[in-house]
């Protein structure tokens, strides 16, 4: 069933993203939620305008009320479950073991990253990413050891959301996804495409038959491990932001959009 719906979801999200781009250009001031670009220049001083020109990114959050509700749910889920699991993971497993886990899950994400680099015409980064994958999958024993990283083979992670951004798609509207956290219509589209081209996720294109390449149980275990690994990496940062912020939702939203802009520009 998922196989049938998946391409449709991807298609609809893509349309939504591009529709939103047009919508954004014509109706920025009509959005019900926050639209930072629609603020009047708050000062005539040249400095502020010049700084805005090099620094300010656009945030469109017309679904803010709804997003905040999802955010409250996500935040509670995180505080009472995910953070607890991530802390236990950090406390129970020594760093070298956690590094092995991180190497393994990162390595599995590299083919899709290399593919997206190629789509963006970044051939050098694509080759570096794929070399990383090949070296770590072989000499690094299935990706458990980051041999390529130790040899200073550097690469930038790329995903399909970044590929869309590279070709000029703006972030679309900001959305908070239950359990997954901050995203945008562009990045959610990207996520759907990345999942559909990743053979590890499931055999969406039914290559060589209809069977999934990896059983569902293993895929769920891998997804859970990836989430716990990522949450563990963010434990200190999120704790800091949660403690310091006057509006955690707004802080996270701004940080997410800025980070994505930086990732697309790299």
């Amino acid at each position: 069933m998922f196989r049938i719906y998946f391409p449709s979801i991807v298609f609809l999200l893509t349309i939504f993203t591009y529709h939103n781009q047009v919508f954004a250009k014509t109706a920025t001031n009509k959005s019900a939620g926050t639209d930072i670009k629609s603020y009047e220049a708050f000062d005539d001083e040249e400095d502020f305008e010049n700084y805005e020109a090099i620094n300010i990114v656009e945030i469109k959050d017309p679904l803010e009320k709804f997003n905040r509700k999802i955010f409250v749910f996500n935040d509670s889920f995180d505080k009472y479950f995910l953070e607890f699991v991530a802390r236990a993971y950090r406390e129970e497993l020594p760093k070298p073991v956690r590094n092995v886990v991180r190497n393994f899950v990162t390595n599995l994400s590299l083919p899709v990253s290399a593919f997206n680099s190629a789509l963006q015409g970044k051939s050098e980064n694509s080759l570096a990413t794929f070399s990383h994958f090949l070296i770590n999958s072989t000499i690094g024993i299935g990706g458990l050891f980051n041999v390529a990283g130790e040899k200073n083979i550097r690469y930038n992670q790329e995903d399909f959301g970044q590929t869309l951004g590279h070709y000029g798609a703006n972030s679309g509207i900001y959305i908070m996804i239950p359990f997954l956290g901050p995203s945008s219509t562009r990045d959610l589209t990207g996520l759907a495409v990345d999942k559909s081209i990743n053979p590890i996720e499931f055999n969406s294109f039914e290559v060589g038959g209809k069977e999934d390449l990896i059983e569902m149980n293993y895929r769920l275990a891998l997804a859970a491990t990836t989430v716990v690994d990522k949450r563990e990496a963010l434990l200190d940062i999120i704790e800091d932001v949660r403690k310091d912020s006057f509006d955690f939702y707004a802080t996270l939203r701004s940080a997410y959009i800025q980070k994505r802009v930086a990732e697309i520009k790299n």
Binding site: I36, E40, F42, F48, Y51, I54, N55, F246, S254, E263
Partner: protein
């Protein structure tokens, strides 16, 4: 002959302007390197007590940032609508908030190395990219600073880590907080937060 002379004069002025630009970029590099080194040195100075280390880092931050400019920037659209009293109160509180929030944070930044790798100029701002290598890691953290010259003194206006600008994030956060809570409640919260941070500082 006249043309050759004009050419020489042109080359002289252009090269002297370029040299001045390069000198300025070098000055920014030295300025940021100095601040980074001072913070790392202070954070690791075993001769100082915890409180002294914090005080030293706070003083480095206080002297190197233009808190008034940043305060005005982070107010965003609210700057136009806030009363003069509120603006003045916020500007004063913001400086305290910055130094008391980030002073203690930088105190834990034990680093092996801090190097400015590149300085460029864009729209009248200097952008200094730097690498910070923590003691317990081999992976350098990439950060950048936005610097401006004011009254012949270089000042930091922004700090960017992982592509995330500190002042832009604060602008988004403060504007959202003000629109939800109102200016008075926000200023009160800010004041309470600073008091709390100061108490933590002396512990």
């Amino acid at each position: 002959m006249k043309n050759i002379l004009l050419g020489i004069v042109f080359i002289f002025f252009t090269s002297s302007a370029l040299a001045q630009d390069n000198t300025k970029l070098d000055q920014v590099k030295v300025f940021i390197n100095e601040i980074g080194s001072q913070i790392i040195k202070s954070a690791d100075d075993k001769k100082l007590s915890v409180a002294q280390r914090k005080a030293k880092i706070i003083s480095v931050i206080d002297e190197s940032i233009d808190a008034d400019w940043i305060a005005r920037f982070v107010l965003g659209k609210n700057y136009r609508t806030m009363s003069e009293e509120h603006k003045a109160a916020f500007t004063k509180l913001y400086r305290d908030f910055m130094i008391n929030t980030y002073g203690p944070k930088f105190q834990s930044y034990n680093g092996k190395r801090f190097d400015v790798t590149d300085v460029t100029e864009q729209n009248g701002f200097y952008i200094a990219k730097a690498e910070f290598l923590p003691k317990d890691s081999n992976a350098a953290i990439l950060v950048s600073f936005r610097v401006k010259e004011r009254a012949n003194k270089l000042v930091i206006l922004d700090f960017i880590a992982e592509g995330i600008s500190l002042i832009e994030t604060q602008r988004s956060e403060f504007n959202s907080a003000i629109s939800q809570k109102g200016v008075d409640k926000f200023l009160e919260e800010l004041k309470n937060r600073i008091e709390k941070l100061k108490t933590q500082k002396t512990n």
